[in-house]
């Protein structure tokens, strides 16, 4: 029986390890940090945990509609492909830091990619 992507990355423990690192990278990234101004950090961390679980191929109940509605106010502020790319880049760097192989990082990036159109309201 082959392990799922989620198991290979390390499951929920990997999500917990990744969330602080990922969120810190995103907040420190001048290209995208302004989109996080004034947000409640605990709520945001909980959302990022949901996102990471989904991107790691774990159990989730993300819907395209949620993604659209959740990001519409940011699209109105100018959220575009370059910002989406920056987030994916930070995601890859986070996993690299945690010792995840390039192959698995590629799989995670591919899952994240499936949300692009909904996030950007295309």
């Amino acid at each position: 029986m082959s392990d799922s992507l989620f198991d290979k990355i390390g499951g929920e423990a990997a999500v917990n390890a990744a969330v602080d690192i990922f969120y810190r990278k995103v907040l420190a990234d001048d290209r995208i940090s302004r989109f996080f101004d004034g947000v409640d950090m605990e709520k945001q961390a909980a959302k990022q945990k949901g996102f990471l679980t989904m991107a790691f191929g774990g159990p989730n109940n993300y819907s395209g509609k949620d993604m659209r509605e959740g990001h519409a106010h940011l699209v109105a502020k100018g959220l575009n492909d370059s910002h989406f790319d920056a987030v994916v880049e930070n995601l890859g760097a986070t996993l690299k830091e945690l010792g995840v192989t390039d192959e698995l990082i590629g799989e995670v990036a591919a899952i994240a990619e499936t949300t692009r159109n909904d996030v950007l309201g295309k």
Binding site: D20, Y23, R24, L27, G38, M41, E42
Partner: protein, 322 residues
């Protein structure tokens, strides 16, 4: 628009209007204080209809299951029949005023008797009730293992109904209604080696004065740094007591910070700048932030960026209302 039924009468809410705003508009407001979902004063219970999840943030799971919600953050999606919660934030305890000391012209130290059954952890807060319409949250500065009183520090707020009453009209031996203790900004034993960074502005010192003395009393070994700031020297208080503590405990460090140009709209206190400038890496530190909401939010973000884990940041923003 959803109908809110309260006390046998029906009220139609407006778009995006909270239950608190709607009931206030119809002149039958439930008690409220911070209006930001923090103090839980306005907790109500839906006995018909389901309150939105967002109005239950921060409530205990057991309360969420029973459809308790915060009226200030509840924009109903459906008709609700609501009642006042016989809640933990309601007046549950009667206390007696034992001491009133003016620490500075704008900071009042209040000491109350500890009502039977009132058990708290230093750093928690409680709600003080003047009557059924006026209530405010105050943090607890006392430590049960060290003193058999409840101590609060009250900052005089311009045109503040509650602080004005506490400063000017409350008398020794008066009785006063208190809620149960609330909040999660307190010392956690179990990591006695951890470094602790604490930043307070004004009466934000109160909970930290409790947390620090609790930590030292429990034998905390790691370094404890307190930066207490204000734009105004009148809000720097308990200096002698804190300096004495530094003499008794080598691992406790105290720095009062006065930022000065408060008069020309300098809302950001500098205690946090000095703290963050001094301690550049906060990995594995535990952080306590109490006081001005903007200071708390800004410092929380920067402490996180400096390496502190979100789980290790305890923040208590003080919302001041008149």
């Amino acid at each position: 628009m959803p109908i809110i039924e309260f006390d046998g009468k029906k009220y139609e809410s407006k778009p995006d209007e909270t239950v608190l705003d709607c009931l206030t508009r119809f002149d039958c407001p439930p008690p409220s204080s911070c209006r930001s979902g923090l103090c839980h004063t306005c907790m109500m219970r839906a006995i018909a209809g389901t309150p939105p999840e967002s109005s239950q943030q921060g409530l205990k799971e057991t309360l969420q299951q029973q459809n308790y919600f915060l009226a200030c953050s509840c924009v109903p999606a459906e008709d609700l029949t609501v009642t006042l919660a016989d809640s933990i934030a309601a007046p549950h305890f009667e206390t007696i005023v034992l001491e009133k000391n003016l620490l500075t012209p704008v900071i009042l130290q209040l000491r109350f008797s500890v009502p039977e059954g009132f058990t708290y952890i230093p750093g928690q807060f409680l709600n003080v009730f003047r009557d059924e319409h006026l209530t405010r949250s105050y943090s607890i500065a006392s430590v049960p293992a060290l003193e058999n009183v409840i101590e609060l520090h009250v900052e005089r707020i311009k045109d503040g109904e509650m602080s004005g009453w506490l400063f000017d009209d409350l008398n020794l031996n008066d009785t006063l209604q208190l809620s149960e203790p609330l909040g999660e900004c307190y010392y956690l034993p179990g990591n006695p080696e951890k470094s602790l960074l604490m930043v307070a502005t004004g009466s934000g010192l109160a909970p930290l004065y409790g947390v620090i003395r609790d930590a030292l009393n429990q034998g905390h070994q790691g370094e404890i740094y307190l930066y207490h700031g204000s734009e105004n020297p009148e809000k720097i208080y308990l200096q002698n007591e804190l300096e004495n503590l530094t003499k008794l405990h080598d691992n406790f460090h105290y720095k009062p910070c006065i930022s000065g140009d408060g008069a020309d709209g300098n809302i950001m206190d500098r205690a946090n700048e000095i703290a963050l400038g001094t301690h550049k890496s906060l990995k594995d530190w535990r952080i306590y932030l109490c006081g001005h909401p903007l200071m708390v939010a800004d410092t929380k973000r920067r402490a996180f960026l400096a390496g502190a884990s979100l789980n290790d940041i305890f923040a208590d923003p003080f919302e001041f209302s008149s």
